[in-house]
């Protein structure tokens, strides 16, 4: 079979099966199990509507459970056992071992730094870009260009930025633009990616570069949602553009800023590809996700690797709680 035909066929079958499930299961419920007719109509309908949510949720819950929740539990279990001892339960030994590892603390330190810097900078730049591009004629083009990095894979982004940070010894022509500018200003060429602690920031720049577009798009939508009149009122009140921005606009989109911040935080927690491709955690740039990968696939230390994964999961707890609270409030 021609691969193209095969591709189309697989696509059709895959989708068909999916749609088929929802259609058939609902038909079954409404027609066969609890038909909406006859004497028990009211009771049947009520029962059907008690079951239906689970019908709708089942595939998603199943996939989530199987593909994410179960591995997480398995990982939790792994983090409490030692494979070299045949999978014996060792309690928190792996965590203890991890806490002995200075690399782990370095990863924690860096991760916290990432958690502060990247969401903050992406949001700030996004806000700036949103505010500025909203006011000019070619703003949409500018927006597209700033958003573009979102479409580039982390690996691609790493390639791009390696070129930016490229280093050549003194005397050779620099091909990395950063060094070219730096030497142009009279500096010695620098090996940016090894300059701890600054190198972490150079890595963060990559993620900021990617995420700013995301922040910008959402914040610009939020900015547009601000009632024009409040801005005009401020103008009449005599506020300068800066005062308007900081005292009128920013406070009004605070909730959106929080959402953007959270989303980027989630991305940061998982960040791995950039560090792996650019420094592999050397020169004090280790982060948790890469530490985990290192432990799992390089050092074959599943116990510690899993423990590291659990720490990542733990860091998201505050966001989790915040969301529960939010949904509760929303449904009430």
């Amino acid at each position: 079979m021609h691969p193209a035909v095969q591709a189309v066929l697989t696509i059709v079958i895959g989708l068909g099966a999916c749609i088929g499930y929802f259609w058939a299961s609902n038909q079954l419920l409404d027609r066969v199990i609890f038909p909406a007719r006859g004497a028990n109509i009211a009771r049947n309908i009520r029962r059907a509507s008690m079951i239906r949510p689970w019908l709708f949720l089942f595939p998603a819950m199943f996939a989530l459970g199987l593909y994410l929740a179960w591995p997480v539990l398995a990982t939790l279990w792994l983090s409490l056992t030692d494979r070299d001892q045949g999978g014996a339960f060792v309690g928190l030994a792996n965590y203890a071992q991890m806490s002995q590892d200075p690399k782990f603390w370095e990863a924690i330190r860096n991760n916290l730094l990432w958690l502060v810097v990247v969401p903050a900078a992406s949001t700030a730049f996004g806000l700036l870009a949103a505010q500025l591009t909203d006011r000019i004629g070619w703003g949409n083009i500018a927006k597209s260009l700033i958003f573009m990095p979102m479409a580039i894979s982390f690996v691609g982004a790493s390639v791009i930025w390696k070129l930016v940070y490229d280093f050549r010894p003194v005397g050779q022509e620099q091909i990395g633009i950063l060094n070219a500018i730096w030497t142009g200003l009279g500096g010695e060429p620098q090996t940016w990616l090894t300059m701890a602690p600054w190198n972490s920031f150079f890595l963060m720049a990559v993620l900021i570069w990617i995420q700013t577009g995301f922040a910008m798009v959402i914040l610009s939508a939020a900015l547009r949602g601000i009632p024009e009149e409040t801005v005009e009122a401020a103008i009449v009140d005599g506020a300068s553009p800066l005062q308007i921005f900081f005292r009128i606009k920013v406070p009004q989109i605070r909730s959106t800023i929080v959402v953007v911040w959270t989303t980027i935080t989630l991305v940061v927690l998982k960040i791995f590809d950039i560090v792996l491709a650019m420094t592999n955690g050397q020169w004090e740039t280790q982060v948790l996700a890469n530490y985990m990968y290192d432990k799992m696939f390089r050092a074959f230390d599943w116990g510690v690797g899993s423990a590291a994964a659990m720490v990542i999961m733990l860091l998201v707890l505050p966001i989790l709680v915040w969301n529960v609270v939010n949904v509760r409030r929303e449904t009430r």
Binding site: P227, E229, T230, E232, A233, A234, I235, V236, D237, G238, A239, S240, Q243, R247, I248, P251, Q252, R254
Partner: protein, 362 residues
């Protein structure tokens, strides 16, 4: 104390869309001017040009005798109250009112005094530390007004300030604005609305905008009693004035018009010989009609009655092309439905229009 003078003011959007042209208007200090007009006629645009929120593309605007075309809004000595209130949602009532003064770098005690005074005037003192979202619509509106008062401007601009309020609140707030005006007799106010009642009750003069220009300027009762065009006549008053086509059959200090359906109307509008035979529209306000057994101006079949308690609206079946005729009778009238009724009208309340507009007063 500020007078306003608009000379040949015009507004063109994007170089091609002309929204207003040749607006000439003199506003004396202390007046309360109301702009009315159909939706989209440029009321808000004109107000915003006065505020400085919209660039003036033709003519000059003077405030207090000084041309301010290029003066930024904050320096014009104006304050504006927006239709949507435009309160800063993240600031307390106090901060909302204090904002302009803070921007102007006024001292703290000075600000506090001004805010307290305005709050007291508007009975907002208990709410000073609330956020706008914890206020009712009417209270929000008062905050918006308070914010204007605090700045102590010489000109107040209101853009449909009451349109977001429900009926009861609207009445109450309208009265508050009227009282406010009385407390500040030397402040000029310009007020945009499309609500009849507001315009009639508040204005010292009403400016009717239509068709990119000013249709008529005058005191509320002037406009009600002496509209200078069919447009103004139908625009002021609700339900709108009925227009019935006819032909002048007798002239003199009083004019007689013979209507198409055979009735005839006598009007206090004077006419000359030359008007004889002229095709005119006879204007009758619904509230000026009375049921008569004898000869009337208009005869028709009642299609529908609406009893509003104190008054009853009679909707007549439209005849041919003519628009529906409506009469408003005081009191409660039952069982008129389907009956043929003849209506009469005081001659001094019969208006005559010629050529789609100009009034036949000479």
């Amino acid at each position: 104390m500020a007078t306003l003078k608009l000379t040949d003011v015009g507004k063109t959007y994007g170089g091609t869309i002309e929204v207003l042209r040749h607006i000439n208007l003199d506003i004396k200090a202390g007046e309360l001017i109301v702009f009315v007009g159909p939706s989209g006629c440029g009321k808000s645009t004109l107000l915003r040009m006065i505020a400085g929120l919209e660039r003036i593309t033709a003519g000059t605007l003077e405030i207090g005798g000084q041309v301010v075309n290029d003066v930024p809004p904050a320096q014009r000595g104006i304050a504006m109250v927006f239709q949507s209130y435009a309160l800063y949602p993240h600031m307390t009532v106090r901060d909302n009112m204090a904002f302009a003064l803070q921007i102007a770098k006024k001292s703290k005690p000075e600000i506090d005094t001004a805010v307290e005074r305005a709050a007291k005037m508007l009975q907002l003192t208990p709410y000073l530390d609330r956020l706008p979202k914890a206020l009712s619509g009417g209270q929000r509106q008062r905050v918006a007004i308070g914010r204007a008062i605090v700045r102590d401007p010489s000109v107040f601009l209101f853009d449909e300030p009451l349109s977001n309020l429900d009926a009861a609140l609207r009445v109450a707030t309208r009265i508050e604005i009227a009282q406010l005006k009385e407390q500040m007799p030397d402040r000029t106010m310009i007020y945009v609305t499309h609500d009849q009642v507001e315009a009639m009750t508040l204005a010292s003069r009403i400016v009717v905008l239509a068709n990119r220009g000013i249709a008529q300027v005058g005191s509320p009762l002037d406009l009600y009693e002496r509209p200078n065009s069919e447009f103004v006549a139908q625009f002021i008053g609700s339900p709108a004035m009925n227009l019935v086509p006819g032909r002048i059959t007798a002239t003199g200090p009083r004019t007689t018009v013979t209507l198409e359906d055979g009735g005839s109307a006598l009007s206090d509008v004077p006419s000359t010989e030359a008007d004889m035979g002229l095709l005119v529209n006879v204007g009758l306000r619904p509230e000026d009609c009375m049921i008569t057994e004898g000869q009337g101006v208009f005869t028709g079949t009642v299609a529908l009655t609406e009893a509003l308690g104190e008054v009853t609206l009679l909707h007549f079946e439209p005849q041919g092309e003519a628009p529906a005729f409506i009469a408003k009778l005081p009191g409660i009238h039952r069982n008129l439905r389907g009956r043929q009724v003849t209506l009469a009208c005081d001659p001094d309340k019969v208006h005559l229009f010629h050529d789609g507009g100009s009034l036949l007063y000479r």
